[in-house]
Each structure stands twice: as structure tokens, then as C-alpha cells.
Symmetry: C2
Subunit: 673 residues, 2 copies
């Protein structure tokens, strides 16, 4: 942690008092509006394309029955969540995620957005709903065919409760190497589902401990003695009384760090027979005689196509994590604006926590990131919606969507873990009481960095995609050619492959100044700094991998460069988020709301650069003086946002009635001495 040591002249020349965004082509002047309506405008912008869905949820979900009761034991909590699911089903939250033919309304973006709002009430409910309709339902909807329509209808209405049995005890992240087998027996026309080893046991499966009657099981398909890779099968696991079916052994994962309402469990299969038709056969099928057929010839592509249809899970996890963080930040900002501690020696009055510089610095950068991620998530959901409602599955678009979903899942879940923890600590002892929700939010979201793809593994996935842009181009270059290429072409390749759009491209085109000279308050310069970090890290990671691979073999080369690769992935994600923020602001018409969003965006940029200032200096992208001005800029920006904290809370969009932290209601504790 660095500290600026300037003593007298604090006025940062690098942050303008009015950080308009002239590059975007609109003026920042206009009639002043009231504080409330600024918040309304901002909230509408953060709500994104499905703002009607959000508004409806804000009205519907204040129902007390939808909020978790931390005093229930875990069995009671599970039962309660199941009741809540039925209420949510009645409200119609599930239908949007399914096609018209299957009884849905065909609005995947609305489905993800609507369910995300459950994060404001009870994250156990959100997970349970996500398992039933998103993962289990999504598998049947997207990997199944007409012959599975009835299953979709039953799971939609909760007539059939399901679970999503992918992860195994021995294989969390490495799905391609799952051990469970589904061996076709042409004599009976059945698949035999089996767990050949203890590590093949399905593990951590939401719904498997108690409620699920059927599992979507990922297993190696074997026919004619030959393995065809991982496919998905519908396997009944319990009868109507909840007893394990023959050959199925379920068990209970028991208590977890949070999410008490979710019944995670384990499943082992001992030669369980299912009809041939229980293979979800959209991309591959087995004939009665055992002949394997698939339109996708390449097994690896088939595998990734199968997994790719499940992208909605990652999109959803990121969204829910960020929603949880918005609740926590809203609570902590509100508390910091009420709670006083220690007297101001100047006038003897007790000082509001949020008036302390350190408190501002602890919270506002997280708030800025929350704004940034809201815009990024809206953009992601829109892309997902377009891909999933399009007529043809475009593999390129699909792959780009997956990379973006993986990256934003990482960014949002990490943001949740860090910011909620900071909120807890910022609220002191009160923050530790369950009645103030922060500890529950922390505990419930904690596993989000792990499930639906471990964050480290996903960051590597993102980085690998970036590096792929090089390998096609450079595979055949010799060493000298590589160096030349790296020096001249790299930046363009990265930019091209990351799908930069018009506004962003225009901004970038304006950054003709050397960055060292450019005004840091200009979006074009900010973008350039983010892009420089990404480009440089990606280029040098590729270079390093290549140089090493020849010396030491691929694993050593990879492992040696692993933190470098991860840094490249993170830099890419930061840039995507910044671009989404900038584009989001461009759509705000109200001048006051827009100016405030601009300030928040500046803080996102400055605090992100500050976190990476060592890198910028060490790689000569930033002078020491400029780095110091970044630090002063953060201070100035948190100062400027301080009086807007109530507006920012309103804009974050968690309604008063959904905050539900006892310390915000209890006026008594805020009376000073």
C-alpha cells in the first residue's frame, strides 16, 4: 500500500471537477433535476434492458415469505425454500427461461434478470431456483429434443424436481475427465449408469440430498465398447416418497458455509438402467442397435458445444453475486451515513463514519465497481439473449459469449467476496450480527467464486482464448518472426478479437497523445491505459509461453507463467468492464445522472489503476508523478461522491423494503453523546 506524501497542494490536476465525456458526442449541460430524479435516472440505466422485469420484482418480492429466516435449522430452511419456490413459480419467474413450445415465454434475458432479483431476498432461494430451472431445466431444454418436452413441462411447474449432476468428488473443474459411465446395452435398449470408483461419486449436487427426483447426469457415453466422451442423461434417482431408487445411493453434504436452504448431496450409481431415450440427444444420439450419431464430428467441439449451452449458469452466478454485493454496499453506505463515532476536535460533534477518509476509501471504490459491473452484466445478458434467441447457433458468437461470461463471472464473484467482507468490517460489531444481513450475504455468496467454474480456472480459460488469437497467427513464425510480430501486430490482434464496438473504437482513435501526456480524466486515455495493460500482458505471456515451451515442455512452461497468464486474463476482464461502463453512460440522457455516472466511472478507473500502479510504473506505462496523481485523484473522487451517497444507494436499486438490516431501522443507536 502506497501513500502519497504531498503535503500542501492536494488539488489533483488529473481529475477535473466536471468530468464530462465530450468524446461521446453529447453535451453535459442541461437543466438541473432533483436529487431523487437523478437517482431514478441512474437506477434506470443500471437496470438495463430488462428494467421492467426488475421493477416488477421490486414490487413482488417484498413478500415476507421470500426472505430467509436464519433461525431455522437446515432441514427447516430447505423445506421453506421449497415453499418459496412454489410462490416464485406462481409469480411466473420460471417460464421466461423456456421456449414457447415447451410452455415458456422464450425470454432468456428476462429469466436471468428476474431470478437475479431473488438475490435481494434469499440466496438459497436463488440457488435452488437456478438449479431447478437454470441448470436442470436448462440441460433438458437445451440438450434435449422433442422427446423431452414433457419433462420440461413437469419441471417448470415443479411437478418434477431435478438436480444437475456434473461435478464429481474427484473432478470439479476438469469436466472432460469425469469418471461416471453410461454404457449402452443394445440387448435391452438401455444405458447403464455407473460410478466405477469412489472419486466418480457426484458431489455437492444441489437438490441431491433431499428434494430431487431426477438428475441430469453427465457421464462418459460408451457404446460398442468405445467411449464417445461426456454426454448428459436423465436418471430418475428417487421415488415419490423420496426413497433412493434401486442402484442409486444418495447422501447429504450437510452444513455448508452458507446457503442453508439448499440441499447439496452426493449420488453414487451402481449399474442403474435407464431407457435409451433418456440421453439428451440434441447434439448426439445412439440408435437402438448402439450406433453413435452426431452432427458434430469433432469430439472436442461436441463436448464444448454441450457445455456451451449451459452458459446461462455462469451469467446467472455473476449477476446474483453482484446483486448480493449491491445489497451489502447499500446497507454499509446507509449505516456509514447514520453512525457517528469519535468527536471532531474542531466543533465537538461526533463524526459520521462516512465522513472519514479511510471509510470513504474502503467503500466508494467498491461502489464504483458495482456500477461498472451492473453495466457489464446488462451487456452480457443482452448478448446471451441474442445468441440464445437467434435462429442459428453461431459458434463464433457462442464462444465469445462464453469467454465474456467466464470473465464476468470471475469479476463479479470476486467483487462480491471482497466488497461484502469490507462492508461487514465497516459496520463493526453491528455488521457481525445476523439481523444486519451482511454476514449472511458473505456466507451465502462465498462459494460463488468456486461453483459454476472456479475463478482461477475460468481466468485461465479467458486468458487461453486471448492467447489463441496469437497462436493462429504465429504458429508458423520462427523466433525472429515472432519477435517482430509481437512488437508490431499484437495490439491489433487483441483488439480485433475482443470485439470492440464503434463508440469504444472512436474513443480509442482519439488517444493520439502518448499516454504519459494524455489527460487522465479523458475516457480515451483511460481506455488506452486499460488496453495497454491487457495488450502488453497478453503479448508477453504468449512470448514467454512459447520461449519456455521449447525449453521445458508445455506444463512447466504453463506453470512457470501461470501468474502472468492470470494477470493477462484479469486485465482483459477489466477492459471489458470499463467498455461496458462507458457504453452504459452514453445511454444516459439526464445530464445530472450522467455527470454522476461519469464521476463514478472515473473512480472505477482511478482505483483500478491504483491497484495496478506497480505494474504501470514497472512497465513504463506511467511515471511516478502520474501514479501519485492517481492516488490524489482517488481521494478527490471519494470526496466528491461523499455527498451523493444517498443517491448512489437509490441508484443501486435495492428498495428500502428489501434492505432489512435492523441497524438501519433502530434510530436509538445513532444518537450521539
Amino acid at each position: 500500500m502506497g501513500t502519497d506524501t504531498a503535503t500542501g497542494t492536494e488539488a489533483a490536476d488529473s481529475v477535473r471537477s466536471n468530468s464530462a465525456q465530450p468524446e461521446a458526442g453529447t453535451s453535459n449541460t442541461g437543466p438541473s433535476t432533483t436529487g431523487k430524479s437523478t437517482a431514478d435516472h441512474l437506477r434506470a440505466a443500471l437496470d438495463g434492458p430488462w428494467r421492467e422485469v426488475r421493477e416488477q420484482a421490486r414490487r413482488q418480492l417484498v413478500d415476507d415469505r421470500l426472505f430467509g429466516d436464519p433461525y431455522l435449522d437446515y432441514r427447516q430452511a430447505r423445506a421453506r425454500v421449497l415453499e418459496q419456490m412454489r410462490l416464485i413459480a406462481e409469480f411466473g419467474y420460471a417460464e421466461k427461461g423456456f421456449s414457447l413450445e415447451h410452455g415458456g415465454t422464450g425470454d432468456p434475458g428476462g429469466a436471468v434478470t428476474g431470478l437475479e432479483m431473488l438475490a435481494y431476498t434469499d440466496l438459497s432461494l436463488w440457488v435452488k431456483a437456478g438449479v431447478q430451472w437454470g441448470l436442470f431445466g436448462g440441460a433438458v431444454e437445451n440438450l434435449g429434443t422433442d422427446r423431452h418436452t414433457d419433462v420440461v413441462k413437469r419441471l417448470l411447474s415443479l411437478d418434477l424436481l431435478g438436480c444437475f449432476a456434473m461435478t464429481e468428488s474427484g473432478h470439479g473443474s476438469d469436466v472432460a475427465n469425469l469418471e461416471t459411465t453410461a454404457t449402452y446395452d443394445p440387448a435391452t435398449g438401455e444405458f447403464v449408469v455407473h460410478s466405477p470408483t469412489a472419486s466418480a461419486r457426484k458431489d455437492y449436487i444441489g437438490g441431491a440430498a433431499e428434494h430431487a427426483r431426477m438428475a441430469a447426469v453427465f457421464a462418459q457415453l460408451i457404446t460398442g465398447g468405445e467411449s464417445k466422451g461426456v454426454h448428459c442423461f436423465l436418471v430418475p434417482i428417487r421415488d415419490e416418497e423420496g426413497n433412493d431408487l434401486p442402484g442409486v445411493t444418495t447422501s447429504d453434504c450437510g452444513l455448508k458455509g452458507g446457503l442453508p436452504g439448499v440441499d447439496n448431496g452426493r449420488i453414487e450409481f451402481d449399474h442403474v438402467r435407464i431407457p435409451r431415450e433418456n440421453l439428451l440427444n440434441r447434439y448426439a444420439d445412439v440408435d437402438a442397435d448402439g450406433t453413435y450419431r452426431s452432427d458434430i464430428e469433432n469430439p472436442s467441439r461436441r463436448f464444448f458445444t454441450t457445455l456451451g449451452t449451459l452458459v446461462r449458469g455462469r451469467v446467472s452466478v455473476g449477476g446474483a453475486a453482484a446483486a448480493g454485493a449491491r445489497v451489502a454496499l447499500s446497507i454499509a453506505l446507509r449505516y456509514g451515513d447514520k453512525r457517528r463515532q469519535f468527536s471532531d476536535p474542531d466543533d465537538g460533534s461526533e463524526t459520521l463514519l462516512l465522513d472519514y477518509r479511510s471509510h470513504q476509501r474502503r467503500l466508494f471504490p467498491h461502489v464504483a465497481r458495482a456500477f461498472a459491473l451492473s453495466f457489464a452484466q446488462n451487456d452480457l445478458v443482452r448478448r446471451m439473449h441474442l445468441v440464445q434467441t437467434g435462429q442459428n447457433l453461431d459458434p463464433e458468437a457462442q464462444r465469445a459469449l462464453e469467454k465474456r461470461a467466464a470473465g464476468l463471472k470471475v469479476a463479479q464473484t470476486r467483487h462480491a467476496t471482497r466488497s461484502i467482507q469490507e462492508c461487514r468490517e465497516c459496520c463493526g460489531g453491528a455488521g457481525y450480527l445476523t439481523e444486519n444481513r451482511l454476514v449472511t450475504l458473505k456466507a451465502d455468496t462465498d462459494v460463488f467464486t468456486t461453483f459454476e467454474g472456479d475463478n482461477v480456472v475460468l481466468t485461465q480459460l479467458v486468458a487461453k482464448e486471448l492467447l489463441t488469437a496469437y497462436s493462429d497467427e504465429v504458429r508458423d513464425l520462427d523466433a525472429l518472426g515472432w519477435v517482430k510480430f509481437a512488437a508490431t501486430m499484437a495490439r491489433d490482434v487483441v483488439r480485433e478479437t475482443s470485439g470492440v464496438r464503434q463508440l469504444i473504437q472512436r474513443l480509442r482513435d482519439r488517444s493520439d497523445d502518448g499516454v504519459d501526456e494524455g489527460d487522465l480524466a479523458r475516457r480515451s486515455v483511460q481506455l488506452q491505459l486499460f488496453a495497454d495493460r491487457e495488450d502488453y500482458l497478453t503479448r508477453t505471456a504468449a512470448h514467454r509461453l512459447r520461449a519456455r515451451a521449447e525449453e521445458t515442455g508445455p506444463f512447466e512452461a504453463f506453470n512457470n507463467a501461470q501468474d502472468h497468464i492470470l494477470a493477462a486474463g484479469e486485465a482483459h476482464i477489466d477492459r471489458l468492464v470499463l467498455e461496458a461502463f462507458i457504453e452504459g453512460i452514453a445511454d444516459i440522457e439526464d445530464p445530472e445522472a450522467r455527470a454522476l455516472a461519469d464521476t463514478v466511472c472515473d473512480l472505477f478507473v482511478y482505483s483500478t489503476i491504483e491497484q495496478n500502479q506497480a505494474w504501470y510504473i514497472m512497465h513504463r506505462f506511467m511515471s511516478v508523478d502520474r501514479a501519485k496523481s492517481v492516488r490524489r485523484g482517488v481521494n478527490e473522487l471519494v470526496d466528491r461522491l461523499r455527498p451523493e451517497s444517498a443517491t448512489l444507494v437509490e441508484a443501486l436499486g435495492v428498495p428500502e423494503a428489501m434492505l432489512r438490516a435492523a441497524m438501519l431501522d433502530d434510530a436509538s443507536v445513532h444518537q450521539g453523546a
Copy 2:
């Protein structure tokens, strides 16, 4: 996050393959010993002066009855912890903390160390024991006199359960401004204890919800219409049946983020009368006629003397936090050394998590810090023991002890919060299951950053002490004089006041080289870098405060420089910890154990510098090239420690029988495909 971009030459010139410590005057050669005995030697060093107490605890505390049962509801958990307390009392863990005259054995260092070991079993039990014997008992023991001997005897045997009622709803950190009053009534010879406002309610008080019969209440003493400041009073709050006594209203804080076995509650007083003798009157008393007497004339000094006797609480919290982190790190290291994921492309075998560079980088720096903090804690406990068993209370030594205790409380609780979180994430889904303990350790220790002094407030306290060294010297200098002073004298003042001892001073004297030229693997250079950061930050913070105070008034000046001040405090704490680590290593005689400890110390130094590398570069204490070599050094050090992970776990000193994470027993999940 920065990333080194070197491609080919990874050999870091800055870390020697044998990082001996020639400055300490012993040779690093000697007969090779077995891995087990290296661990034994290291563990003995980490165990510190009270290693016999620790060894005994390792034998005694494996009792199943002492481990928490996460399936109990909070009322059952509270009852169970009370039973555990009786067992601990039978084992004799309480007596050490009390003087011979009061039925104890007069071994405060042993008391803190013995109770710390409870962190290996159940942190609720540790807190409950700490409240009863450390806080409540410590208040009576240290603030009371002969007339309270009977109370000590009863609380020791658990015949009397007490609580420590300092914090109020409106006043957590600001103890001087507590609102509860104790007004002396000479007509009856009683104090009238009263909560005049809602914010005067005692809050978060461990034991107040259910079990405590008596409270040590901190209140403003008023006699003859005059307030004499905060004093401590014994107030009975419940009868033997557990009913609130007249005028007392207790309530329950309910569920918290963790520590379910601790019954935190609230107390309000409505003109509750207690005998005059219930004032704990070691430092001040009230005569029957209401005359106030104290040997300490200065009210501020009296207040700090009163609080100062409670330093043991902070010492204990830091120790327990670090102990919890050792459990988590041991579990995560062991798991990382068993769990495999993804195939090594070189030979097809699945790779152990701990063989991944990123995994090593996530865990080993925390392990290094755990070692450092163990030595620092032992040093702190020894100092506390000396101060508390000395014949005369030396105000200077007391004050230095308080500063050190505050600083190490911050360092250790922050370390616990961060490292346990990292351990959880490093163990993926398994880490989220309660049966693997990490989530419970995280939840239970989470409030440690807040209680017994909020970390931000304590860091400021440490920094303020540092700055005080200046104010005495510079109070009367004019601006020019100040600047001169700051430029020339500052470093020496800081060093002198921080009590540098001989070994450290000798090491420092050797660092004649400019730091830029010095060998980073030399302890003298490392110390210099840590001291440079502290000195510079402290000097410039003082300068900035002073410059600003004249312009804007003291609060604005303070607030503007707050993050600068906090950074100075953190730098000071880092240096204290490094010095303790170096001194601890000097006492290790076994050459292999010593060499391993040296490597761990190097990693502590390199990773701490890496975290602060932006600061070092920006303030010209480190060149960019050197900063890059630090990064390579961290990589090389984690590589070197990788094969020692089992030895390091043994050295951390949590016995196998106390790890109790199901995933470490279950061999099945570690069979690869």
C-alpha cells in the same frame, strides 16, 4: 497485480539458494537431520517460551467434547460451551491468569498461551473462556483490590459467571465517551448505575444474553455532581434462576456471523443500586461521604491506566486469530498436497494442486506470515508477562506494550481474515463444507478484526504513538525548523522509540551499502527496507499533519492524511514482526530447521515488499529492476518451499488429531482418473 514479463532468464540473482544468516553469528553448516526432526525443531521454536503449556494442551485438548458441533442450534451450542468451560476449568487453564493470593498460579504468559490453544478446538469456547477469565476476571483481578478477592475465587471456579460490559450501542471504539453513569448516593452509600439514553445500552456483551450473573460495567463515575470519568463497577444482573434483577433489562443479540456458542447480549440499567464497595478501586475510590480519591491525578492518565491493565485481551485476540489461521493453513496445505486436478500434458498424470504456481503463490506467503506472527506473538506474550509480573508498574513499558499489542492484534486478525478466506477458496467446493472446518474458522474469527479494538482505530493508535515521538521534539519548532528536523532527525527518533534491541541494531549497523546496491537476501538490507518505509511514512505523515493543521484545523488535517497515517502504522507493525522473526530464528540451533526458517523468513520479506512495491518504487527506495527481482524471488522461494510443505505443516504445530477436516481423511476422493 503486476506480472513479471521476463521470458527466459528466471534465475533470480536476489535469492541465494542458501539464505544463511551470517550476520547473526552462527554457521549454517552441520549434520543433516531427518525431516521429522527438522519439523520438531521448528515447532519448538514457534512454540516459544511456553512450549510446555502448548505440548500439554496438544495432549489434553484432543478430547472430543472440546470440539464444536456445528449441528447444534445456538441455544444448544451455548449450553455445550458452558460444559466445555467446566472441563477446561478442571484442566486448570484458568488459574495461571490469577495471582497466588487469589487462588491462581501467577503465570499470565502461560494463561494466554494455554487458552490460545483452545482456538484449535472451538473458537466459541476460546471467546467464552476469554470473557470469563480474561476480561471479566482480568478486570476484577487488575482493577479490584483485596475486597474483591472472593469474587475472583468464585469466577475462577465458575461458581460466578460474569461478563464485561464496556461497549455501548452508541460507542464501540470511543470508550472515553461512554454514556452509562454510576452516580454516588452518600445517603445510602451506593452507586446508582443507569443508562440515560438508548445509545447507552451495553451491546454485544459476551455472556449477557444468558449465562452471566454479574457484569463488570464501565460507566462515568459521578460524585458530588461531578463526573470523574470512566470507572469499572461490579453489577449483579441476574439471580440464580437466570432472571434479570430489578432495574436490569437484558436482551439477546441472537445469531451472529459465527461463534454460535457465545451468548452475546445487551444490558440496560434503570437506576440500579450497588454498594459503594462494588467500585473496582485499585486506581481510584470514593469515600463513604462521596469524596473522590486517586493516586493518579491526571484524569486522562487514570483512564489509560485503567484500560491499560486490560491489554491481555488484545494480546489474546491476536494469538487466537493466528492460531485459527494456522489450523486453516495446515488443512489447506495438506489438501493441496493430496488433491489432483487436470492432467499434466507432459506425462498425463493429474497434477497436485500444490504443484501449481498460482496455488503456491496463494498459500505460501500466508504460511510465511504465519511463521512471522508466531514469533512476534511469543515475543509479545513474553513482554506482557514481564510487565505484568514485575513489581512496579512502569508506565513507559506499559505504554510500549500496549502499542505493540495493538499493532500485533491488527496484524494477526487481518492475517486470519485474509488467509482463512484464501484457504477456503483454495479448497474449492470441499472448502465450503462445514465438515472441513474452514468456513467455521472464517466465520468465527471474522469479528476479531473488530472486537477488542477495531483494526482501523488500533492502527491509528499505533501511528499516533509513533507521531508522538515527533511532537515532543518538534512542538516548538517553526516551519523552517520543522523541515530541517524532518530531513535529518526523524529516522533516529523513530528507531530509538521503537526499542530496537541488540541483534537488530547490529544487523542495521551493517547495512552501510545504499539499499539499491545491497543484497536483498541479507537480513540487514531487508530490515533497512522495512525501516525505510516506516521512517519515511512516519516522517512525512507528521510533516503533512502539521502543515495541514495550520491551514485547515486538526480534524481536516487528520482526515486528509488518514490513509497516510494508517500506512505508517502498518509499516511499523511490519517492521516489528520482521524483527521478531529474525530474533526467533537466531534462537534455533538445529541447522536444517534454521535454514528452513530462513527461507520462510525470506518469503515473508519478499512477499511483504512485493505487496508494497508500488510504494517502494514511487518513493525511490527501489529500482524497477529490483522490484522485478523481488517478484522472481517470490516465485523462486515458493518453489523451494513446495517440497517442504509437510514439514511446514508439522512445524505450525496443530496436531493431526486436531485438524479434523473430513476431506483429509477421505482417501477416495483423491484417486485420479
